[in-house]
Symmetry: C2
């Protein structure tokens, strides 16, 4: 605070009052118009006309926790369904530091240069509205974010993986209806979310770095088993030699796994976003995968299986949530766990008792 009368850099002058010529009724009309939400039909029309604002608004409805928004979202999805599915969905994972954002930027720019319309989504159950999440910082994809043929959307927030997964799957449908033919879905390298993403994509790509004992780390969580391709990233400069060694090791490790239902033998590639090498090869590999799995019908079979999986998964999650959120079961569960710990009852007797309270 500065003493009144003294001149200071912090001194505030009195504000200038609003000129009287401003049309107050016009302002009210504009405000009113802005508050009017477009209808489901209007949004669908916008999405099918490739209007990004309509697409973004519809995704916001999908991500909302407001039941009325969800009802509207379901209506929009239902109308978009006949226009969905005509895309390739690619999952991209790797531990933090592996260079996912830079790889996606480079890969995305390459795809748009080939005439592709790409949508980049993220699945990150740890993200919240307030904290930064993967893809939240769009500045890390400077070129792609300005690209007319790319649409980038950060991870929906949510504490449960099931909720985040539902939102992402429905967002895929909306993006496909809006004409995006290549959907890249980024996820963090933390096990469970990878399994969820693997269950919503056609092709699963694992990014790795050479060296530092990292070669076989993927094995411990079964992620390597899910990969259709491993791309050793940052294969440039001094890293190149190690990357080539890692390629041999990964190839050997991949051959230890049983053959995939798709009939596809996973491959290992080298890439460098820095030197812009290896990127066309990644796309060629995905095209070879598409040729194979469309010919042997695994592509459609897998999408159908994924739908079944999400149907059953959603049902079972809800059955559990409903049961454990029942107040009388909450209390008795605590009591039964204590009795089990004291050797006063068995897990099976306690389960019977709790199920009787349903």
């Amino acid at each position: 605070m500065t003493e009144k009368g003294k001149t200071s850099a912090l001194q505030e002058n009195e504000g200038v009052s609003e000129p009287e010529t401003t049309n107050k009724s016009a302002i009210a009309a504009i405000k009113n118009k802005r508050q009017q939400q477009p209808s489901a039909d209007e949004l669908v029309k916008g999405i099918l006309a490739k209007d990004r604002t309509a697409l973004s608004r519809a995704i916001t409805l999908v991500e909302s926790t407001n039941p009325q928004h969800l009802k509207k979202a379901n209506d929009i999805i239902q109308q978009c369904l006949p226009y969905a599915n005509a895309s390739i969905r690619i999952g991209i994972t790797g531990v933090p530091g592996v260079g996912k954002s830079t790889f996606i930027e480079t890969f995305g720019m390459y795809l748009t240069s080939k005439g592709k319309q790409i949508a980049v989504l993220a699945v990150d159950p740890s993200s919240t509205l307030s904290r930064g999440s993967i893809l939240g910082d769009k500045t890390r994809m400077e070129d792609l974010v300005k690209n007319d043929n790319a649409f980038i959307r950060p991870s929906p927030s949510g504490s449960s993986l099931g909720g985040v997964a539902r939102k992402s799957r429905e967002t895929i449908i909306l993006c496909e209806a809006a004409g995006f033919d290549t959907i890249l879905i980024e996820t963090v390298g933390v096990g469970q979310s990878e399994t969820a993403v693997h269950s919503m994509v056609d092709f699963f790509l694992l990014l790795k770095l050479a060296g530092a004992g990292d070669e076989l780390q993927g094995i411990k969580r079964g992620i390597m088993e899910m990969a259709d391709a491993i791309v050793i990233n940052k294969a440039d400069g001094d890293n190149l030699k190690n990357a080539k060694i890692a390629k041999v090791e990964f190839n050997r490790a991949l051959h230890l796994y049983p053959p995939k239902d798709s009939g596809w033998q996973p491959k290992v590639l080298l890439a460098s976003a820095l030197e812009n090498t290896g990127i066309p090869e990644v796309w060629q590999l995905i095209e070879a995968y598409l040729d194979l799995t469309k010919e042997n019908h695994f592509f459609d079979y897998s999408r159908n299986e994924q739908n079944k999986f999400w149907l059953l998964q959603t049902i079972e999650d809800r059955l559990k949530t409903d049961f454990y959120n029942n107040p009388s079961i909450k209390i008795e569960l605590k009591h039964q766990l204590e009795r089990i710990e004291n050797g006063e009852t068995t897990p099976f007797a306690a389960a019977e008792l709790l199920l009787g309270l349903k």
Copy 2:
């Protein structure tokens, strides 16, 4: 048939009638007594007195599908609980042909020679009453079956792993109450049943053979990750050299996994039932594990976690079974799956609809 009157080796003479001195009322009394089933209290008394007939009868009640038998079984288990838990529970797995039965026979004979009272159980969800199962053929454990300090029980039958697992866990309690201090639980090498057995034992032992590309096979199903020890079996004669090489390879592979919650570093041993070598070393290793996990309290912690796991697992299995067995849901589920396949609805919308029918 021989012609009447002719003498033949096949000729049958008329039978001798029953002597009249037999006391018919005594026979009826004995028959009546035999048909009378012992009460729950009588069986508990028998179990605690280490009466094998009482133990076997109680296990039969546990394995029954008759609701009255199950009620009686629950009563018996409840009464046995205070006398249970004072044992070490060891899971033993390995693919068919690895020599599980022979290993268990040799290991079991060694344990009884050390004064242990051992119970050998099996978990094999594929076994039925009619078909042969592991341990069904007790002749494969000729010495152990005649041993007064060993009790052998084949796998309970059942089509669901959950059901078989419940029966096995309750049988463990009964065996412990009957004074058996070392419980060996054998399982087949087929993935899911191993996970179930791993969730009911203190120590998990994986039997392996050297050679024939078998070295890293366990990795593909995450079984090696569960093992507290790998025993390379049949490490004798011409196999010995390969077994030693395999030991080095397994040791290297085990070090790729993250440290266990128990603080235990899994070990690899060689054994031969044929030459009776390596068996005391297996027991020494288990004793070292017990020393460590009792001191760091992992032993009790793990048993408590296993109980919680089985409580939640039992509840969730039943919630699902009840839902999917609901006749109106069965019909609508089929319909919704068709609609999903035709792209007329999403898995999430279909799940909402089905949950509404509950």
